[in-house]
Amino acid sequence: MVSKESCRNEIRAAIRQLSDRCLYSAAKWAGEQLVGIEQDPSNFTPSNTRFQRGSSSIRRRFSTNESISTPQPSVGFSQAATPLPEEDETIDGDLYLLAKSYFDCREYRRASHVLRDQTSKKSVFLHFYALYLAGEKRKEEEMIELEGPLGKSDAINRELVSLERDLSALRRTGAIDSFGLYLYGVVLKEKGNETLAIASLVESVNSYPWNWSAWSELQSLCTSIETLDRLNLNNHWMKDFFLGYAYQELRMHTESLAKYDYLQGIFSFSNYIQAQTAKAQYSLREFDQVEIMFEELLRNDPYRVEDMDLYSNVLYAKEACAALSYLAHKVFLTDKYRPESCCIIGNYYSLKGQHEKAVMYFRRALKLSKKYLSAWTLMGHEYVEMKNTPAAIDAYRRAVDINPSDYRAWYGLGQAYEMMGMPFYALHYFRKSIFFLPNDSRLWIAMAKCYQTEQLYMLEEAIKCYKRAVNCTDTEGIALNQLAKLHQKLGRNEEAAFYFEKDLERMDAEGLEGPNMFEALVFLATHFKNHKKFEEAEVYCTRLLDYSGPEKEKAKSLLRGIRMAQTGFPSMDLEHFPI
């Protein structure tokens, strides 16, 4: 059992310790969770309420319900509470104070130098951490300076070698604390030694679970569910955060949603959880819900840039131009040199049909962050729109090489090749994308269309694909119609009738009308008439009579034929006789 109070106390202490070690992003994350915990009634100050007032009425209702049924048995929450480590020195050394201020001014090398002979754990960690960051900073600079003729960028963090040597020495003597283990893990990961890195990070989070940076490093190393399952982690509420995140990255969205749902019991106001939930919902294509969540998130935290690219994708999908431009303007004012901002602006231009500008912004996003996956994919989409297929293929391929499980990019590759009239070649890519997202009807339909092209004309395979699409709850209703038509084309009228009926049911349920409807009705009417099931045929004919146009005439003649047949006339084709 974990009470909100103990959580709060743990986090408060952790924030202090994390910021003492200049692990700012972890401290930031912890701070977000701290205020995400439902309000502490004891120190109920107006400023606090103001902070939480922004939450929407839905959320409010939801949360009050929860607080009424307060003593909820929160199973599985951290059983063995990890004791908070005591600080090894109560009074910080002078040199430490100086170093920390250097650090805060981003003069890492200077900070590291000041602490070179210090022995207290905090100073030792800060010494190494500053050194590491100095190397990273230099590396980033070199990356631009050293861009070779063939894209060679061999810039490396030059401090890694010495850091690894010193940290492993520390570890051998046992003088390393959990923060040191975290840094050691990061260094090992950069050097490509993943198994050791995982071991080191696991040790770090087991002894000090509140360091979110360590958890996220660990997540980036868990590329498969097997590695995730093999981790030997102590139970702690931080582990649930970690699992939710890891599940999400492994595309196990429902599992991750369950985790977040669960965590919301304590951190009911956490923006982080809300954003993550929105992300998962986005992957499940619940756009309306996601939009609401993001709107709420922005109301609580108007200057947030993180995850806003996702929101822009939703707005793009919903073609909400105005909202997208508003969002773009807002992030632009907040921080225009973030990859997310550039991506949002790119999305906006793309929606407006100004693809060249969109490409420019996606490029900028990539300049800011080379591994920014979705920018590559989106850029590929833009090039497709601009009919520059080779460039599109190149962009998609880069996305795929960064993350091989990016089904959108695989799909894009398939589409591009199909556009160039190479459907057989495209099939391989569609297969790849389906492999990563097997229950998405759009992908199956795309593949079926590929089989259906006149060059391939492999209708049996197309039918198989459409069947899969139907099983995946095809929302646009293409698959049923196509299935019926294909069967009709192949002369299998029974199957065709079955699928036309199903399609008709679907259209009735959704209240749609259109040429598909007429087609289905005409086919069904003639089909049943030919099979002497006059009652069914009549039903369909009368439905057709409701509409005007040639279908009505057709229905009339069909009805006449039915009457004739029913009254026992020889079943000759009476339509040809002028009556």
């Binding site: 070199e142 300076e145 050293l146 070779g148 003729p149 063939l150 894209g151 060679k152 960028s153 061999d154 490396i156 030059r158 070698v161 690894e164 040597r165 050097k191 490509g192 030694n193 490409v359 090039y383 520059n388 297929t389 080779p390 460039a391 293929i393 190149d394 962009a395 998609y396 391929r397 090489d401 590759l413 090749y417 160039m420 009239g421 190479m422 459907p423 057989f424 070649y425 391989h428 060059q455 391939l456 004309y457």
Partner: protein, 916 residues
């Protein structure tokens, strides 16, 4: 890439290039002297120039040589003045103390270039022409330096420091692996080495004075190496091993944690783009030709390619190389992945532009080439159906984009696919495919489609002047003419005349056309690789004499040897061309084999094996070996053949889809049949039949062969009716699948069966039919053997036909004796004797020599063949003749021979043990 920024082909200044610039300054100093200072002769001066030229062109690796390697090479080039050269080089480097010095250095470099408008050149003046190769190099260096930002200059400066440092630390590093700390400290100092070199040169001079000759291997580093290691390691070898070590550490970077590793990692500089491309092309050739030999490991190539990819992620050709490598190491998924990646990134425009310089379709990329490659890959991995689909798409896309070159290649690939797939499996595939090209021919048989495709491809290739494709198409056409019996192409159905025939003239014509076009390959070959490999060969040659102590006094002879080597290299033909020529010889051999001239077949195979053995693909080389072994088996007996087979097995068993096993089974089967070990023969035959039906499809020809062999076994076991049944069904199969040539041999077999069963009258029509088949297909040897059978049948009708039989035999004798194998010849001899003996007008006593001669011949030949049945017959006849003549001793001898053979025939067990 169309939309993305790309700076491929850019030229970066590296420390190595600065070294070359320094040397160029020495070579052509701005001060106008007729012969610059350190050079004592014009030839020396030229030698340095040649060396510098090769340095800028050579492509034996992707990395630029390190300073140490450069100095080593300089020692060879510089001869007497090597010390001065290296001194100057190192001093020049150490004088670069700040970025400003670099700036001044490049300003100075400008001075050595002659101005383009200086029309008047004095006779002895040395000026670097700005448009010459070296001049261009200097200009590019200067330009690249001028484009550098200040950060870039700083990086260059620090990498120069590393470059110089490493020249010394790398040798120390090597020693470090021996844990010889003492030598490490000894060797760490730069001054120390200079001192050592000085000492060495002193020593050299001393020796020169003493004996007038300089031992070449004697220079300091090696001397020290020797001391350290206690064994002779030439510097070249040691540098090799060191390279391996660094490579290994680079690959296993997971465990790399020492300082040295990162040092090595940082100081790798890639050569210029063209040099790398040339090197990659060489590697591609190597992958194709040496995939079977054990010295060539695909994993080492893979690791090297990985490294290159890390260093140059925008060099997409690497992906293609990886694809090739994976293709040849039979890794389907990796090959597919790399192929797709290559075409995704490069759109097929990188690398292929060297082959087909038409740039008209660059807007859309050249994805049709990707399809072509994919199709060929599927084919290689045994997915003919997929391959056909992909190739069909390639045809369509290249038609769409009007890329005729690709279309020609695709059609050729398709016809190759169809002809190799075998007939049974192909017919089902073609039904489903839909293609503008193939659909026109949907009613035609597979052979006719192959023919049409080939014709189309040939026509396009001819108009596009793709000489290699034209040549290979001619060869394929010759093969087709050889394999398939011609019918009038457009008139089909029961009414059309069904006269089949082959046309050796057209085969010959096609082969000659193919070979003829190859002769002017030079217009197509890329000069880049030839140039580059020439240069690297020259550079390598510098180091060759290091192994054995070569005396420098006779440097004249050394030079001449390099000269010859250079000549050798410069006329070297691109690998693909020589492969094609080789294939034409192989095809010639096969066609002679078909038409029945063994000596010609053997000669052509030998020509192939000796001249094209090195450059050939391993499957072709294997085929040549197989042919030679088959020849041995037929003409020299099985013992020799098996000995040769053993050698071939060691060489070729690693080749995928090896035919060695097939040959072994065939040989074993024949031998078992000869020895009368029918059980073994049956087993071999069954295995052969198993090989015919692979997962890829049924090889009809092999299948027919297997049942032919089965019928032979039944015949040998005297199961005549069963054998006849097999023969009949076999004939039906051949007819069904249009295997015209096999029909002739099946008919002959049927005749044999009837002959053996004593039913000569029934056999006659079969023999006659076989003869007429052979006649129309020009199968001379088979015809001779059919004539022999016919004669035997006549004799079987009664001794009054002996005269006629003898006449027939004598008509066929020239062919049999000239081209026939041991067995056929022996049979002919025995039969001749038989004829004489059964001729009532022939008297043994007066004309015994005619009979005895041929019998002796026969038994000699059968001895080496171990054919007991016939040998027994021969010795029996001999004994009879001797008996008639009253020569008792010789009769006894022949009789004992007869007994020996009969016993061997009846107890095949121990023979088998010998064989095993």
């Amino acid at each position: 890439m169309a939309g993305l920024t790309r700076t491929a082909g850019a030229f970066a200044v590296t420390p190595h290039k600065i070294s070359v610039c320094i040397l160029l300054q020495i070579y052509a100093p701005s001060a106008q002297m007729s012969l610059p200072f350190p050079f004592s002769s014009v030839s020396q001066h030229n030698r340095l120039g040649l060396y510098l030229l090769s340095l800028t062109k050579s492509c034996d690796d992707i990395f630029e040589p390190k300073l140490e390697e450069l100095i080593n090479q300089l020692r060879d080039v510089g001869e007497e003045m090597d010390a001065w050269l290296t001194d100057h080089l190192t001093n020049r480097f150490s004088s670069l103390a700040s970025p400003d010095d670099l700036l001044n250095f490049f300003n100075d470099m400008r001075g050595i270039l002659g101005s383009p408008d200086s029309g008047v050149v004095q006779d002895d003046q040395i000026i670097l022409d700005p448009n010459s190769n070296l001049g261009m190099f200097v200009r590019r260096c200067i330009l690249a330096f001028n484009l550098l930002s200040f950060e870039g200059v700083c990086h260059l400066f620090s990498s120069i420091e590393d470059y110089c440092k490493e020249a010394h630390s790398s040798s120390a590093q090597f020693d470090g692996s021996n844990n010889d700390l003492e030598s490490l400290t000894h060797y760490d100092q730069m001054d120390m080495e200079i001192y050592a070199i000085d000492k060495a040169t002193e020593e050299l001079e001393l020796q020169k004075n003493a004996s007038g000759s300089v031992p070449f291997h004697l220079h300091t580093p090696e001397a020290i190496f020797k001391v350290i290691e206690g064994l002779r390691v030439s510097p070249k070898e040691s540098s090799r091993t060191r390279k391996k070590i660094t490579e290994a550490t680079l690959v296993s970077s997971a465990s790399s944690s020492t300082v040295e590793d990162t040092l090595v990692d940082e100081s790798l500089f890639l050569r210029t783009n063209l040099q790398i491309q040339g090197f990659l092309m060489e590697q591609a050739d190597a992958i194709e030709t040496h995939r079977s030999s054990s010295s060539f490991s695909s994993s080492s190539i893979e690791s090297f390619l990985e490294q290159l990819q890390n260093l140059a992620p925008e060099l997409h050709r690497v992906h293609f190389l990886r694809y090739l490598n994976k293709l040849h190491s039979d890794d389907y998924f990796a090959a597919l992945d790399n192929l797709l990646r290559y075409f995704d990134y490069s759109a097929g425009t990188e690398g292929f532009d060297l082959v087909a310089p038409s740039a008209d379709c660059s807007m859309y990329g050249r994805y049709e080439i990707g399809l072509l490659c994919l199709g060929m890959m599927h084919f290689r991995f045994g997915h003919p159906n997929l391959a056909l689909e992909v190739l069909t798409e390639a045809v369509r896309v290249s038609q769409q984009l009007s890329n005729d070159t690709c279309l020609a290649y695709t059609l050729a690939a398709m016809s190759n696919l169809l002809s190799e797939m075998g007939i049974a499996s192909a017919s089902s595939v073609l039904g489903s495919s839909y293609s503008p090209v193939t659909s026109t021919a949907s009613s035609l048989s597979v052979q006719q489609r192959v023919y049409i495709l080939l014709k189309e491809s040939l026509r396009r290739a001819d108009s596009l002047k793709l000489r290699r494709l034209v040549a290979s198409n001619h060869l394929a056409m010759a093969k087709f003419e050889l394999m398939h019996v011609q019918r009038p192409l457009l008139s089909f159905g029961p009414k059309a005349s069904m006269r089949h025939k082959t046309c050796p003239v057209s085969v010959c014509k096609e082969i000659r056309l193919g070979a003829h076009l190859i002769s002017d390959f030079s217009s197509e070959s890329s000069t880049m690789t030839v140039d580059g490999s020439l240069s690297s060969a020259w550079l390598k040659d510098l180091q060759k004499p290091w192994g054995p102590p070569v005396v420098s006094q006779d440097s004249g002879s050394r030079k001449s040897s390099t000269f010859f080597k250079l000549c050798d290299h410069s006329v070297s033909i691109p690998g693909s061309v020589s492969q094609l020529i080789g294939a034409s010889y192989l095809l010639r051999a096969t066609s002679w084999e078909f038409y029945g001239s063994a000596p010609m077949a053997r000669m052509n195979t030998l020509v192939y094996a000796t001249l094209f053995g090195d450059s050939s693909s391993s499957s072709d080389a294997e085929l040549a070996y197989l042919k030679l072994i088959q020849h041995l088996a037929l003409y020299k007996g099985h013992k020799d053949a098996f000995a040769a087979l053993k050698i071939a097995e060691e060489k070729f068993l690693t080749v995928s889809k090896s035919k060695i096993l097939l040959l072994k089974l065939q040989l074993l089967h024949e031998r078992a049949l000869h020895c009368g070990n029918l059980k073994l023969a049956q087993r071999m035959c069954n295995e052969l039949g198993g090989l015919a039906s692979t997962a890829m499809g049924v090889d009809m020809e092999l299948k027919v062969e297997a049942s032919l062999r089965e019928a032979r076994i039944l015949l040998a076991a005297k199961q005549y009716s069963q054998a006849a049944n097999v023969g009949h069904s076999l004939f039906c199969t051949c007819h069904k699948f249009n295997l015209q040539i096999e029909k002739a041999s099946v008919l002959l077999l049927l005749a044999e069966i009837h002959k053996k069963s004593g039913n000569s009258v029934l056999g006659l029509p079969y023999a006659l039919a076989s003869i007429s088949f052979c006649q129309s297909f020009n199968l001379d040897l088979l015809r001779a053997s059919a004539t022999l059978t016919l004669a035997e049948l006549w004799l079987g009708l009664g001794s009054n036909h002996a005269k006629r039989a003898l006449d027939l035999l004598h008509g066929a004798f020239p062919m049999i004796l000239g081209h026939g194998g041991l067995e056929l010849r022996a049979r002919a001899y025995i039969f001749e004797a038989n004829c004489y003996l059964s001729d009532p007008s022939f008297s043994v006593s007066t004309d015994s020599d005619t009979v005895l001669d041929s019998l002796r011949q026969a038994s000699d030949e059968l001895e080496s063949l171990e054919y007991h049945e016939l040998a027994a017959e021969a010795s029996y006849l001999m004994a009879m003749v001797y008996d008639k003549l009253g020569r008792v001793e010789e009769r006894e001898e022949a009789a004992s021979l007869f007994k020996k053979h009969i016993i061997a025939l009846e107890n095949p067990q121990d023979v088998e043990q010998n064989m095993a």
